[in-house]
C-alpha cells in the first residue's frame, strides 16, 4: 500500500481513538485536580477521593451496586448457561422463537423497559427497591450470557459430548467431565459480562430505585442534575476504571470481532 495511504489510515484510527478516550481521560485527570470548578491549570490533589470516604450516601449506593451486580452475575450466568445448553444440544419446535425473544431486552429502549417494570411492579405490589432492580438486571443480562456461552459451545460443537457418550459416559458424567471444563472460559466471560451489565446499569435502576435505596449510577445522576460536586468525578473515575478493567478481563476469555 502506498506510504501516504498507510499514514492516512493510521492517522484516522489514532484520531478516532483520541475522540473516544478524550472525555474519559479529562474526567480522570480532573478527579485529581485541585480546582473545584474544573479549571486549569492542573494541580495534583487527592482530596476528592478522600471526601468519598465521608459521603455515606455514595458509600451505601456503592455497596448496593456491587451486591446487586454479584447476585445478578450468579443468577444470570446459571440460568443463561442452562438455556444456552438447551439451544446448543437440541433442536426443537419453537427454538427460533425463543432465540428471537432474546432480542427485546437488548433492543427495546431501556426507557420503555424501565418504566414498564415500574408500572407492573407497582400493580402487583412488588414495589421498588433492590429486589426490583435485581429482577430487572438479571433480565437484561440473560441475553448476553446466553449468546456468549452459546458462541463458546458452538465453536466446539456437540461432537465432544457424543464422543464421551460412545465411550460410556452417562449424560451426567459427560456434562461434568467434558462440557463444563470446555465451556468454562465462555462461562467466565459471560459472568464478567453480566457483572458489567449490572454494574453500569443506569436506566432500569433509575426507575426502580426507592427513596434511600439507590445504586451508584443513580446517585451520580441525581448529583449531576442538582449541581456539580467534584466528588462525582472521583467516584466516576473509580467506576470507569472498574468497568474497563472488567472488559479487559472479558477479552481474555472471549474474542470480540471473531478470529485473529
Amino acid at each position: 500500500m502506498a506510504k501516504v495511504g498507510v499514514i492516512l489510515v493510521r492517522g484516522y484510527l489514532a484520531l478516532l481513538l483520541l475522540f473516544l478516550y478524550l472525555p474519559i481521560t479529562v474526567m480522570i485527570v480532573m478527579a485529581f485536580n485541585q480546582s473545584a470548578l474544573y479549571q486549569m491549570p492542573f494541580v495534583f490533589d487527592l482530596k476528592w477521593f478522600a471526601a468519598l470516604q465521608d459521603n455515606q450516601k455514595l458509600l451505601d449506593a456503592g455497596f448496593n451496586t456491587v451486591m446487586i451486580a454479584l447476585i445478578n452475575t450468579v443468577i444470570a450466568t446459571t440460568l443463561g448457561t442452562l438455556a444456552a445448553l438447551a439451544f446448543a444440544r437440541y433442536s426443537f419446535r419453537g427454538k427460533t422463537l425463543l432465540q428471537l425473544l432474546l432480542f427485546p431486552p437488548i433492543t427495546i429502549p431501556w426507557l420503555i423497559i424501565g418504566n414498564s417494570m415500574l408500572v407492573m411492579f407497582y400493580w402487583i405490589y412488588l414495589g421498588r427497591g433492590l429486589h426490583a432492580m435485581l429482577l430487572g438486571h438479571v433480565a437484561l443480562s440473560l441475553p448476553y450470557v446466553i449468546i456468549v456461552v452459546g458462541a463458546r459451545f458452538r465453536s466446539f460443537g456437540t461432537t465432544l459430548e457424543e464422543a464421551a457418550a460412545t465411550l460410556g459416559a452417562s449424560p451426567w458424567q459427560a456434562f461434568w467431565r467434558i462440557t463444563v471444563p470446555i465451556m468454562a472460559p465462555g462461562m467466565v466471560a459471560a459472568a464478567l459480562f453480566a457483572f458489567a451489565v449490572s454494574f453500569d446499569q443506569f436506566v432500569i435502576s433509575y426507575f426502580l430505585a426507592a427513596p434511600g435505596v439507590t445504586t451508584l449510577p443513580v446517585e451520580i445522576y441525581t448529583a449531576i442534575r442538582k449541581g456539580y460536586t467534584p466528588e462525582i468525578n472521583a467516584i466516576s473515575t473509580v467506576i470507569i476504571v472498574v468497568s474497563m478493567g472488567l472488559m479487559l478481563l472479558v477479552s481474555r476469555f472471549y474474542r470480540f470481532g471473531g478470529e485473529r
Binding site: T159, E162, A164, T166, L167, A169, S170, A174, P181
Partner: protein, 353 residues
C-alpha cells in the same frame, strides 16, 4: 465382539427419506464399508447403530439383543469421528483412559490397558501430550486407541481418514486394517472414497437415496455391479443401451454395433443396458493384427490424457467411450488415430438401467 443386525430400518426427516427399509447383517469380526454419495443415508445408518439417531421403524440388534431402548453410553460401542473429537483439555493418556475411568476401573488396570494400546498404535511415549500438539495422523491414532481400549462390541468409523492427505491416508489404511485384524472387532465404517472402501473392506454396501443398492465383497461388487448406479459410482463404466438379439449371448446396441456377453439374458427383443469398465477394454491401432474376440469395435481417438502410469482415451466408436490403458509404450496414441477397441465378453455386465 458382536454381530450386528439392521432389520428394515427407516428414518425420515420431514419429507426426506434418509433411510428406507434398510436391512444389513454384519458378521462378527467383519470389516464392513458403507459407501455412497453425500446424503445417501450411510452416515445416518452409522449414527443409528451408535444410538444418536432413533429409527422411525425397524430394529437394530447386537448379538440378537435389540438396542432400541439402550442409550448411547450403554451400547458398548467404540466410535471414531471425522474430526477425531479428542478432548482438548485432556492429555493423550487421559483421552484414552476416559472410557475406562467413567467405568470406574482401578487405576492400575487403567494404566496397564492404556499403555498396551498406545503400543498397539505406536504412540508409546506420547502420554502427556495435548491433542493440539499432535499431527493429523497421530490424532487419528489416539482417537482409534481411545475407542478400542474399552473393548467395545462394535467399532464405528465415520470417514476416519477423510482429513488426511493422500500418502498418509494410504499408510493409515494399512495400519487400520492390521490393527482391526489383530483385535478382531466387528468394524463398520462410512466413506465416500471408493478406493478406500475397496481396499479396507471384507464386504461393502453401496447406498443411494436411503437404500442399499448392492452388497458384497469388493471384488464381486466391482466386477459385477447390479445397477447402473453401482457401476458408475464404484469405478467408471461405459454404458450401452440396446435390445437382446435373437442370437444367443448377443445384444444389438443402439447405433448398430453388437455386443457379446456371457451373462444370462432376458428373451429376445427386451430392452437392456450393458456396462463395460474402461480398464477392461484394449486399445490398439486399427492396423494391428485382429484379436480373437467377438467384441471388436473400430473408431477414432478423440482425446488422450496422460497421467503418468496410465493414459485415458476418449474414443469415438459411433458413440463416445472411455478406455484406460496402462502406460506400457510411453507413446500415447495421438488424436485422430484409427483404433480398434476389444474386450472379453466376460466383462460385458448386464445392469438395470
Amino acid at each position: 465382539m458382536s454381530r450386528v443386525e439392521v432389520d428394515r430400518v427407516s428414518k425420515h426427516y420431514g419429507t426426506v427419506r434418509a433411510l428406507d427399509e434398510v436391512s444389513l447383517a454384519f458378521a462378527d469380526g467383519e470389516f464392513f464399508g458403507l459407501l455412497g454419495p453425500s446424503g445417501s443415508g450411510k452416515t445416518t445408518l452409522l449414527r443409528a447403530i451408535a444410538g444418536f439417531v432413533e429409527p422411525d421403524s425397524g430394529d437394530i440388534r447386537f448379538d440378537d439383543r435389540p438396542v432400541r431402548d439402550l442409550a448411547v453410553h450403554r451400547r458398548e460401542i467404540g466410535m471414531v469421528f471425522q474430526n477425531y473429537a479428542l478432548f482438548p483439555h485432556l492429555s493423550v493418556f487421559d483421552n484414552i483412559a476416559f472410557g475406562l475411568s467413567v467405568r470406574h476401573l482401578p487405576v492400575a488396570e487403567i494404566k496397564a490397558r492404556v499403555t498396551e494400546i498406545l503400543g498397539l498404535v505406536r504412540l508409546a511415549g506420547y502420554e502427556e501430550r495435548r491433542p493440539r500438539q499432535l499431527s493429523g495422523g497421530q490424532q487419528q491414532r489416539v482417537a482409534l486407541a481411545r475407542a478400542l481400549v474399552t473393548r467395545p462390541r462394535v467399532l464405528l468409523l465415520d470417514e476416519p481418514l477423510g482429513a488426511l492427505d493422500k500418502r498418509l491416508r494410504q499408510q493409515m489404511q494399512i495400519e487400520l486394517r492390521q490393527i482391526q485384524r489383530e483385535v478382531g472387532i466387528t468394524t463398520i465404517f462410512v466413506t465416500h472414497d471408493q478406493e478406500e472402501a475397496l481396499t479396507l473392506s471384507d464386504r461393502i454396501a453401496i447406498f443411494n437415496e436411503g437404500r442399499v443398492v448392492q452388497i458384497g465383497a469388493p471384488h464381486a461388487v466391482y466386477e459385477r455391479p447390479s445397477s447402473a448406479f453401482a457401476a458408475s459410482f464404484l469405478g467408471d463404466a461405459n454404458f450401452f443401451a440396446g435390445q437382446v438379439s435373437a442370437e444367443a449371448g448377443r445384444i444389438e446396441a443402439d447405433g448398430g454395433r453388437r455386443i457379446a456377453t456371457l451373462d444370462a439374458l432376458p428373451p429376445a427383443g427386451a430392452r437392456i443396458t450393458v456396462a463395460v469398465r474402461p480398464e477392461k477394454m484394449l486399445l490398439e491401432p486399427a492396423t494391428a493384427p485382429e484379436r480373437d474376440t467377438p467384441n471388436r469395435w473400430t473408431g477414432v481417438v478423440k482425446q488422450s490424457v496422460y497421467s503418468g502410469s496410465s493414459i485415458t482415451y476418449r474414443v469415438d466408436v459411433g458413440t463416445e467411450i472411455v478406455v484406460f490403458a496402462q502406460n506400457q509404450s510411453a507413446q500415447p496414441l495421438a488424436p485422430g488415430t484409427a483404433v480398434a477397441v476389444t474386450w472379453d465378453p466376460l466383462h460385458s455386465v448386464v445392469v438395470e438401467a
